[in-house]
Symmetry: C2
Subunit: 250 residues, 2 copies
């Protein structure tokens, strides 16, 4: 994703100590994730790094004070970015889905994509289809958390039916796979709607029983727990993001 | 892609013999590609089917007379579609990039993606980046073939530098790989600009020497030749598409 929601801020005019900070040292054996706290696309990559038990460090970026070296290395200002040590120096990868597929191929332990090419292709289409819910959430969180975005409900309906058809606890089978982790960051955030209207939330929730059970189980997953935030933390974050017209990243 | 360029036509009001035609028989061993002639996304899939030496048949669709059964099976009216025979009946795949990656995984012969996960990830990013040229071509072909679309030139610049850096004849090395075939359909169409102004075309071409050589070599590739059209055929097609405000698909 781009930092496109930062509309009210002129990066070019910034002069601050952070912006002049020098770049982090060259990597040796670990990976490095450039991440903005609470960013759901970076959250995807954190889940996969964790699920694959990769060695990594996180370099936290403040989107309002991006260091100059980061802007030079990454002129399109994309986040998240994965830095990879290689014999030819450190290399960079962009786009959360591409980064996560890379990690799944690079680290054969605990394969997350199905070995069946057809199922893998279907999962990729569903990850793309989930973008509708992402758009719907953006709209919902941006309009005083209005309930009932059609985009959210329609997407949940597709995923509800898909789970029922697969007849498994997770999209990936008996444990979370790539599709589960790719959609999780936005589902974790949807629970913030319970902070606003519990009755309404539970009413909606009951329309998607398989998906609701899936969400309950995902929350118990060790990988998910490692990078989880509570509904009230998200609520506060998105509320402030709106109030202060800070850039935020859904 | 969707049939979104067909704006002037009301599918719902159609009654024609084609629309009532029954669906083709269930597959046995072959694949079936649902394709609209001259559609570049379907062209991608044809190239990969050919490169992988898969057994397939092509079901040609007339976008202005889509059969009812196709609309039922594929309510989002996506093309191309790959139909795959399985023990649980025929299954369908959408999205040219997903279909092509599926084919590369399903048919191990002549692997098209790099075995190096980092190079494969880079190639996926470049395929996505190429969408800028697709948008630029659409604009160019839609505005009386005006030269010099910035989007086209900027994208060609990226691919020119990439080829120079790789130092190989093809993006895939010493033979065309997935990235080569994924971008080829639109490059093949760009040659139609030579029909309009040869001097101007050659002037532009000379700014991208590596890419120009790559294009010359791609045209000699057996897979490419099998599904090639000439610049004048494309010119005529896109000219008519504009003149008659038919739906066309870039």
């Amino acid at each position: 994703m781009y930092f496109r929601r930062v509309k009210s801020y002129d990066f070019a005019s910034l002069t601050c100590s952070n912006c002049r900070a020098s770049s982090p040292p060259r990597l040796t054996d670990k990976l490095r994730l450039y991440h903005v706290d609470m960013n759901p696309y970076g959250h995807r990559v954190l889940l996969i790094l964790e699920a694959k038990k990769a060695k990594y460090e996180v370099y936290r970026l403040d989107p309002l004070h991006l260091p100059e070296w980061f802007r030079v290395k990454n002129p399109r200002l994309k986040i998240p970015v994965l830095e990879i040590p290689t014999d030819q120096g450190d290399k960079f990868l962009f786009e959360s889905v591409v980064i996560c597929d890379y990690l799944d191929e690079k680290y054969p332990r605990n394969p997350l994509h199905s070995r069946d090419p057809y199922v893998k292709a279907q999962d990729r289409l569903l990850i793309e289809r989930f973008n509708e819910l992402i758009k719907g959430s953006l709209e919902c969180f941006d309009t005083n958390f209005a309930f009932g975005s059609e985009q959210i409900v329609q997407t949940l309906d597709i995923f509800e039916k898909e789970l029922a058809e697969r007849g498994t606890n997770y999209f990936g089978g008996n444990k979370p796979g790539m599709l589960d982790y790719m959609i999780w960051p936005w589902v974790e955030r949807l629970y913030l709607l319970r902070c606003i209207n519990e009755r309404k939330f539970d009413e909606k929730r009951s329309k998607f029983p398989n998906f609701a059970d899936w969400g309950d189980q995902m929350q118990l997953d060790e990988v998910v727990k490692k990078h989880a935030n509570s509904p009230s933390e998200y609520f506060e974050y998105y509320q402030n993001a709106r109030t202060h017209s800070m850039g935020y990243y859904l």
